[in-house]
Amino acid sequence: MTTLPPLTTREDRARAHRHRARRSITISAISTIVVIGGLVAYVLTSPGWPRVRRQFFSASVFGSSFGSVLSGFWLDVRMFLIVEVVVLVFALLIALVRTMRVPVLFPLRMLAIVYVDVFRGVPTILVVYLFGFAVPGLELSGMPTSATTLSGIALALCYSAYVSEVFRAGLESIHPSQAGAALALGLTPTQALRHVIVPQAVRRVLPPLLNDFIALQKDVALVSVVGPQEAFRVAQIFAAQYFNYTPLMAAALLYLSVTIPLTRLVDRMQARNMRERGGLLALGPR
């Protein structure tokens, strides 16, 4: 028997690969330059650009306001971190109450459903208003009176409602046979949740969870409506003082400095999730 010469070689394939890669990079680079360059030129040649530049991008105003806006942003960061921890714990509890079909939990379950419906249905800014102005008006004993704390509570309540739904989706996606296997080993229902169900559920919803936290990070700015001097509020004050919007741009930069790295992290996790399951990446060229 004679061996036939191979029709294609490894080198052929590698060359085709390189060619294809070069072509797609060229195409996307050119289209990006055209689109972005076009947009920039469109804005820069607009009749009002010189005025807008002075109003929004003034280097001197930026320089004199940035320090104060940055110290305001420190409050955003602290509120974000504290509210996030509260939301994680509270939302998980709500989700567990809603998923577990234990009869004793029935009244709690009803309460949880009403809570989630209400706080998801009302604009966050409205809840912040109510907590910032109405709650202190009640003069309840033992209730905190600081606007920062109250608006933090409002944010935590709104976001817990959202995040509890994310957790619930995760919990419900775990097949009941996992609980069966845990119980068969002799674990108590609580141990089964803690060691088997919750860890798998959380892993599964990590990307949407982080998405909600990016949203929370920005929404901390909403507390400014009831007084706390966070970045957006400080920027507004400076803007009014200088008759110039540049301080708001400074605040925008600070928000971005946190949200963009967080977004990249989510992307990375989503891509990994996708790779593990085969997912959409299978559609790309090999």
Partner: protein
Amino acid sequence: MSPPVLELRGVTKSYGGTDVLRGIDLTVDEHEAIALIGASGSGKSTLLRCIDLLDEIDDGDILLDGEPITVPGLDPVPIRRRLGLVFQAFNLFPHMRVIDNVTLGATRAQSVDRAQARASGLALLERFGLGDRADAYPDNLSGGQQQRVAIARALLTHPRAVLLDEVTSALDPELVGEVLDIIRELKADGMTMIIATHEMEFARDFADRVCFLADGRIVEHGPPEQIFSAPAQPETQRFLARLLARR
């Protein structure tokens, strides 16, 4: 004389109007291996789940070492710790390494010291030919390996009896043997067990007694030679004839 390890008296179970078990009587003595055979949907899995108290029976009694375990209000958790159950679909915990799957019951349910549980877990995996896979995740194992891990997981808590639910039916034919070998080994060690199976040859040479389940009842039971060579009941004859015809 000591009581049987397991005793079922008139156990019934229905799911939303369909009677799955209609009065099961069964005793399993120490060191006895029972093969549970029957058509798909005859209630084999249901019976094993009821014995391990994962499903609540409607009527009847189940006794473990002479002690009723289906008394209403009794906490099922400590009783489940005395039994091992292995599932058809393995049901390993995908987020845990093999060794942690195997030791979870011992460390959490029986509060065995971590290092000690790990040592005995590794020894058991070694014995099952999985010594080098202890730190792998279940998804990276073959089906046969996963099922061997699942058996190890059920055994590490030293159960009084193990219940095996069609442990080979989710496996490729060439992987069935490695799992059956382990079950034969357990039998040689004197483990008391009930095994639901579609592997008739295995049931014939392995079991001390074969129980044929149909219409929610144990229609016939006896030594394998008798059930397979000279079944007394027409239902058993039909079931076995159908199986033979399929091959």
